[in-house]
């Protein structure tokens, strides 16, 4: 049988794409569908499985006393982390694109935490936050601030996690913003300056609108990743003290691998998916008003 040109092209395309398709099917598509099925079962890690319909979802919202707490913690983390990350990354990007010397060095230094294993940095930050011997308390002590039990007090544990996360994560957005800032035509900035615009006006009227697609991208990606916060809370506090840093993915992990409740954990994963999807759609909708594509 002679294949037509289009068919041959399609076959070639499928051939080239197949390694990726196989990987996607095996490690993403099939597990995603499986997790949806599992979420409808009372599915202990091993032992007898029972179909229970939407009961896992109902229990999550009506019976689980920890779920509201975990959702609250995650929301606080997402809000504070995203805001601080974006502001700091933008500020550093503006600074680095304006200094005369050392830009590449600083850029590398600020990006370094992003490529350092988070387990290692988490351990180091645990020591930095130690009440008596930690360098942070020692530094604050110079100004007369009494010892703070950063990771051992419910009021400060989440702040400590957010501080560490911002330090670890802002470098990525900073690089995106730097790229955005360099893409702005110098002529537009010069024209604004000739017209008498100051630094602040140049930033607000020229730079900010022109890098708004980069900011939008950074916010969307940071919101998505921050809803999935896990490593920091797992390593630094294990969700404590008193569940003050217990976040959605950590709770999901514990349900799946410590409490062996796979069905319940899968339902939690789908709730997380729904939350992220809603937030992303909302941002997509809002971008029409705030993002300039010119």
């Amino acid at each position: 049988m002679q294949l037509g040109k289009n068919q041959r092209n399609m076959l070639t395309a499928v051939g080239f794409l197949s390694p990726n398709i196989i990987g996607f099917m095996l490690f993403t598509a099939i597990p995603v569908v499986q997790s949806l099925i599992i979420s409808l079962y009372d599915w202990p890690t091993f032992g007898e499985r029972k179909f229970i319909g939407l009961q896992n979802y109902i229990d999550l919202f009506t019976k689980d006393p920890l779920f509201p707490k975990v959702m609250g913690n995650t929301s606080i983390y997402v809000f504070c982390y995203v805001a601080l990350n974006i502001v700091l990354a933008l500020a550093m990007a503006l600074w680095l694109t304006n200094i005369q010397r050392g830009e590449k060095l600083y850029r590398s230094v600020f990006f370094l935490p992003q490529v350092t294993p988070i387990v290692a940095t988490g351990m180091i930050w645990k020591w930095l936050f130690l009440p008596k011997y930690g360098i942070i308390n020692n530094f604050l002590g110079i100004f007369g601030v009494p010892d703070i039990n950063w990771l051992g007090t419910t009021g400060t544990a989440m702040s400590a996690i957010i501080i560490m996360s911002v330090w670890q994560g802002f470098g990525y957005n900073m690089i995106i913003f730097i790229a955005g800032l360099y893409a702005i035509p110098e002529s537009q900035i010069e024209a604004a300056r000739i017209d008498g615009a100051g630094k602040w006006q140049v930033f607000i009227k020229i730079k900010f609108p022109l890098i708004s697609p980069s900011i939008f991208f950074a916010i969307v990606m940071t919101v998505i990743s921050s809803f999935q916060v896990f490593d920091q809370t797992m390593i630094m506090t294990a969700g404590g003290p008193a569940n003050a840093t217990n976040t959605l993915v950590l709770y999901l992990y514990n349900n799946a691998f410590t409490y062996l409740k796979m069905g319940y954990a899968a339902a939690m994963a789908w709730v997380l998916f729904a939350i992220i999807m809603i937030f992303t759609l909302l941002q997509m909708r809002l971008q029409k008003d705030f993002v300039t594509y010119e």
Binding site: S18, I30, P65, M236, N246
Partner: protein, 420 residues
């Protein structure tokens, strides 16, 4: 074209299903030799080497059986074991700890009582009865134990010498213990450290006459005796006799405080003695846990080896775990300092190895007598229950909530977990 795409998709899914299902042929065996897979948690390369030596001992004893050891760290083990059991192709020989046993034994392990009853060679009475109980469900035994131990109190001998204080061998009441702690506080040192994990705290509950289970079999953590016990421990922290917890993500926080020389005493099991000696830069002594306001009690826990329900070689696996828990193997383990042997006939090897540790023999032997040692039998879903208790105890010990409120909150969650 649509047909072509459909065919490609079907092939991809079929391939995926084949991979997902596995080959089902990972257990290898020939007519002559049976290869058994053994999954074990270890904390160091040296420990893995020692377990490998015991595995080789199985082949020496039974030339037709080859034991292949695979190891993982402690936390990894409790992730890997459920995954292996869920996959339907678990290793033949499995490690199990008595405090986690209820969640695993019936669903994933082969009952051993009949094997033991049919075996004229095994002297089951040589094993400490409390740990056999911990590794059983009802009358059915699921694992042969290799180690066990009562919780005891370790103390920093150098610190006692430094301040001229008598070793804590003569503590008879909670007041005696508080007085000792206050003497350390006078020197600017903590007398003890309060753990937040139930595995260790249970000793204090037992001492005040409280049990994990109420009379109706439900798990109860907010009765008056337990509240009083937690208030007593909270008092130790508030008075500056014990440090306030600063590392909630670390179950070994109390042990690390001891290693660092920050606290004079702390509770742990003899199974950690070798590590404690290695990591402490001071002489270590051992005594019984301080008595509660009613009783002198210590909970007894331990570990053993069982056989996967899905094994193709149950007979051979039984012979293997019998050899791994034989007198010969347990003597080696005791000689390496790896375990306080579950068999009474070889326990002295452990004491001889640690002859330099003041009070070890007496503290352990007295703590396992039937009127003091209490087997720590946990309910199902213990991990979720104990995590819930720990999280609420943290809130109490930090000073966020009262003992009553914290334990009431824990009870509410536990009721939901256990459906009681």
């Amino acid at each position: 074209m649509r047909k072509l795409m459909t065919t490609v998709c079907i092939m991809i899914i079929a391939t995926g299903m084949i991979f997902a299902g596995g080959t089902g042929e990972s257990k290898s065996g020939t007519a002559e030799t049976v290869t058994l897979r053994w999954l074990m948690q270890v904390s160091s390369a040296e420990e893995a080497r020692q377990w490998r030596e015991l595995a080789a001992g199985v082949t020496e004893r039974y030339p037709d059986i080859l034991v292949e050891l695979s190891t993982t760290d402690w936390n990894g083990y409790w992730t890997k074991l459920p995954s292996e059991l869920a996959g339907g192709n678990p290793p033949d020989i499995l490690y199990m700890q008595s405090m986690r046993a209820k969640d695993y034994l019936e669903a994933g392990f082969l009952p051993l009582s009949q094997y033991v009853a049919d075996d004229p060679d095994i002297n089951i009475a040589d094993f400490y009865s409390g740990i056999l109980e911990g590794l059983s469900i009802g009358e059915e035994l699921y694992c042969l134990p290799y180690d066990f131990g009562p919780y005891v109190m370790f103390y920093n001998q150098d610190l006692f010498d430094l301040y001229g204080l008598p070793y804590p061998d003569t503590i008879e009441t909670t007041e005696d213990f508080e007085k000792l702690c206050s003497q350390f506080a006078d020197h600017g040192t903590y007398g003890t450290v309060v753990p937040t994990v139930m595995d260790k705290l249970y000793t204090y509950f037992l001492g005040s006459g409280a049990s994990l289970f109420a009379a109706d079999g439900t798990v109860k953590v907010n009765d008056s005796r337990k509240i009083e016990t937690i208030e007593y421990l909270q008092g130790l922290i508030d008075q500056g006799y014990a440090p306030r917890i600063s590392d909630t993500g670390n179950n070994n926080w109390d042990r690390e405080q001891f290693y660092a020389g920050n606290v004079a005493t702390y509770l742990d099991g003899p199974w950690n003695l070798t590590n404690i000696k290695e990591k402490s830069s001071f002489a270590v002594g051992v005594t019984m846990v301080p008595p509660g306001n009613l009783y002198q009690r210590s909970q007894v826990a331990g570990s053993g080896f069982g056989i996967s329900k899905d094994t193709d070689y149950p007979g051979e696996a039984y012979l293997a775990i019998k050899e791994l828990t034989s007198k010969n193997s347990l003597s080696k383990l005791a000689g390496w300092g790896r375990a306080l042997p579950a068999r009474s006939s070889v326990r002295d090897v452990f004491y001889e190895l640690h002859a330099d540790v003041n009070g070890l023999h007496d503290a352990v032997e007295k703590s396992i007598t039937t009127d003091i040692g209490v087997p720590f039998i946990t309910p199902i879903r213990w991990q979720q229950v104990t995590n819930t208790i720990s999280q609420n105890l943290e809130a109490i010990f930090i000073g966020n909530v009262s003992a009553r409120k914290g334990l009431d909150n824990a009870q509410k969650i536990i009721d939901g977990i256990l459906g009681q």
